[in-house]
């Protein structure tokens, strides 16, 4: 219990919102809390905690559950919060001062279980019968007063969508009391009790309307052929929109950070601090923020899709594909999200109910080709097929396909060895088809975007600083090199740059590590590029640019062309066909993202999982790249 003596500025009154999934609880919460809603974590768990300080209390939106008495993590968290043992990070946990039970007017009977369980908690309570507008349309009538008499507390009808009844609800919460009737606690008795109350207070129309449309849509979306086709179309459309629409803000962000960097460089005298700020910190932040448009778009569109009810059906379609490989249909959204960035994808894996399924999903999520790999894919496919945009597109798409296949394969192995056991079959409520809630989708997207910025951003900045320092020191003492007469100015500058680089810590690490990558066909410069990518994959292109050309303007075509034509120390080409293929395969399969590793460790509950992920992906990447290099060398 929190100290009663402390005088909180903020009210320590806690109101917990409890209810089944799909009853519009979140919509109702959003309507009450508005922009004051924040998302954090329930400490020690992997459940999101939406909460808001409003109306004189801390409102906590508990995860939607069918019953408190189940052993799924959502129910466990709800039990702990109601017992006063758990609260969102930063909130002092104590037994809630009131419970707001949100139930669905169109599905009353089933909701009675959670009502009974809430009554049994003997806390002040109000029941909100949500979706009254929908109930009216379906010809369902509920006697709210009678309902309140039956259970012994206030029952308010409302609609989170239209806002109707919300004021009344808040007033009822202020004067909430412990129910003066009790409810049974044993499952059979609860169900009978619920039936009785339902028969007293609700009246429904005989035949529900619109069922045939729902039936037909369901059958189409889950059809073994049509369902898959629909799915492919929807996904292709989704990705196309994301790539196309995101390109504009991405260019803007890129330009803006470039300008910012130039401005800061002009402001400060030249020197290490300027270098750290511009090439380390600003470049690092810019490199993270530039993926925000894709992430925002993906999550927004996914939230919309989910709001329509389609995603639930699509999950079953995908379940058929994923189950033989040891993941469930619930892994669909996490794996899809990982195509923008594995960090929010791995966090989305929280919605996978079975622990082993979930762990498998987390472990293989980084195989899904994320946005950061795209600059590398583009560079290499252009180098490999300079005159054939068609082949470039095919190669580009193949990279994604290989990533997915590698993920499935890895999941299969993990589920046959360390995470043995069958994949839990899916049982999921299929919400009715409806128009998505734009506001809820927007708020969800905002939450996820902020989370991405905080997690990825902080890590990438830290790594950028360290990498910059390793690449800046020690500085080579000024020495003049005697060049032969026929070396051009450019060649001389290149040689100076090379010596400078090799003198630094990063360069020395590159020299030391390079023999490891020799069988893959990488020279010193490529090795440094790959090492630098550990901070963030897309850094590869700019690192190569700096070594080859002295400029890191990765957008400049001439720079890209120079990279393509780069030469090794011995004069031969860096990007031979064999090396390029090898590099491409390496980038598809390698775990090259430290921020993702950190998130894996957190979400999977231990660093051993992160090391496993790193080890396995490195092994796969190395072998794949090795085979690619040797095979292509042999064939040419």
């Amino acid at each position: 219990m929190s100290s009663v003596d402390s005088v909180p500025e903020i009210s320590s009154r806690i109101i917990a919102l409890l209810g089944n999934p799909n009853v519009g609880k979140t919509t109702l919460f959003n309507r009450i809390a508005g922009i004051r809603a924040k998302t954090s974590n329930f400490p020690g768990t992997t459940q999101d905690a939406r909460h808001a300080q409003c109306c004189g209390a801390m409102l906590i939106d508990l995860p939607g559950i069918y019953s408190l008495d189940l052993e799924v993590s959502e129910s466990v968290v709800c039990r702990q919060v109601l017992d006063g043992d758990l609260a969102p990070a930063g909130v002092d946990a104590h037994v809630p001062n009131a419970i707001l039970v949100v139930i669905d007017a169109t599905n009353l009977m089933r909701n009675m279980t959670i009502v009974a369980e809430a009554i049994a908690k003997r806390l002040p309570m109000v029941v909100a019968v949500n979706m009254m507008d929908l109930a009216k349309r379906q010809g369902i009538h509920i006697d709210l007063e009678r309902f309140g008499e039956c259970i012994g507390c206030t029952v308010v009808g409302c609609s989170g969508k239209t806002g109707e009844g919300v004021d009344e609800l808040m007033q009822a919460l202020d004067s909430a009391t412990i129910p003066d009737r009790s409810a049974p606690t044993e499952l059979d008795a609860i169900e009978a009790w619920g039936d009785d109350i339902y028969s007293l207070v609700a009246a429904a129309r005989e035949t529900p309307v619109n069922d045939r449309l729902t039936d037909r849509l369901d059958r189409t979306f889950t059809h073994p052929l049509l369902g898959v086709v629909t799915f492919a179309v929807v996904m292709t459309g989704l990705f196309w929109v994301i790539f196309k629409l995101a390109a504009i803000p991405m260019d803007l962000i890129d330009a803006w950070f470039g300008t910012l960097g130039g401005w800061v460089a002009g402001l400060l005298p030249e020197g290490p601090i300027s270098g750290l700020l511009v090439d380390g910190i600003i470049a690092g932040i810019g490199g993270t923020v530039i993926f925000l448009p894709q992430i925002v778009l993906l999550f927004f569109l996914l939230a919309l899709l989910e709001g329509t009810g389609y995603l639930a059906r699509a999950s079953f379609v995908i379940d058929r594909v994923l189950r033989p490989f040891g993941m469930s249909g619930h892994a669909f959204v996490p794996l899809l999200s990982s195509h923008a960035c594995a960090i929010p994808g791995i966090m989305a894996a929280r919605s996978v109910p079975d622990p082993k399924d979930r762990l498998a999903t987390i472990l293989v999520a980084p195989f899904m080709s994320c946005s950061a790999r795209i600059p590398v894919y583009v560079l290499l496919t252009v180098i490999l097929f300079p005159d054939s945009p068609g082949m470039q597109a095919v190669a580009f798409t193949s990279c994604y396909v290989i990533g997915v296949l590698a993920g499935l394969f890895s999941s299969l192995i993990v589920r046959r060895t360390i995470l043995r056991g069958p994949s839990r079959p899916m049982a999921m409520e299929l919400p009715s088809y409806r128009f998505p809630d734009l506001k809820a989708a927007g708020m969800l997207t905002y939450d996820r975007a902020m989370m991405f910025l905080r997690k990825a951003g902080t890590l990438i900045v830290a790594i950028s600083i360290v990498l910059w320092w390793l690449g800046a020191y020690p500085q080579r003492p000024q020495q003049h090199i005697l060049f032969s007469e026929d070396t051009t100015i450019e060649q001389q500058q290149r040689i100076y740059r090379e010596f400078d680089t090799r003198y630094t810590f990063l360069g020395r690490i590159g020299d030391t590590v390079q023999p490891v990558f020799e069988p893959l066909g990488y020279d010193r410069q490529l090795t440094i590029g790959v090492l630098a990518s550990f901070a963030a994959r897309e850094v590869f292109v700019s690192t190569m640019a700096v070594q080859v050309v002295g400029s890191d303007d990765a957008e400049d075509d001439s720079v890209l062309a120079s990279i393509a034509n780069a030469t090794r120390d011995d004069g031969t080409q860096v990007f031979t066909r064999a090396t390029s293929w090898s590099l491409l395969v390496y980038y598809i399969l390698a775990m090259l993202c430290l921020p993702t590793l950190v998130v894996t460790a957190k979400e999977a509950g231990g660093w051993r999982w992160a090391w496993l992920q790193l080890g396995w992906m490195t092994l796969l990447a190395y072998s794949g790249a090795l085979i690619a290099y040797q095979a292509v060398s042999l064939l040419s």
Partner: protein
């Protein structure tokens, strides 16, 4: 309650959910141990004597919790789970889609 007693008298023919035909209705029959899976299904609405209608066969199996909820509640089940849910087919004589509501 009388209705339940009558349908229980015809219980000899309870079949797995997967053997229903499309559009066929029945009542859920739960017996045996309360495993986690059964508790979950019950909490989702597949409780003893809950009236359900088969909407889609196969993988996934889609059923709607008919009556008593305005028909707005559908549940998708993997075939594996559906095979473990037993259903009593009701005789069509008693009109029971909304047997619980009293107008």
């Amino acid at each position: 309650m009388i209705d339940h007693a009558q349908s229980n008298a015809h219980t000899s023919g309870s079949i797995p959910l997967t053997q229903l035909t499309r559009g066929q209705s029945g009542r859920v029959q739960i017996d045996g141990a309360a495993t986690d899976e059964i508790k979950m299904l019950r909490a989702m609405g597949l409780r003893p004597n809950a009236s359900i209608t088969m909407c889609r066969l196969g993988e996934p199996c889609i059923i709607s919790l008919s009556g008593a909820c305005g028909g707005g509640c559908r549940i998708g089940l993997a075939k594996e789970i559906a095979g473990r849910v037993m259903i009593n087919i009701e005789r069509q004589s008693e009109t029971q889609p909304d047997g619980q509501s009293n107008g």
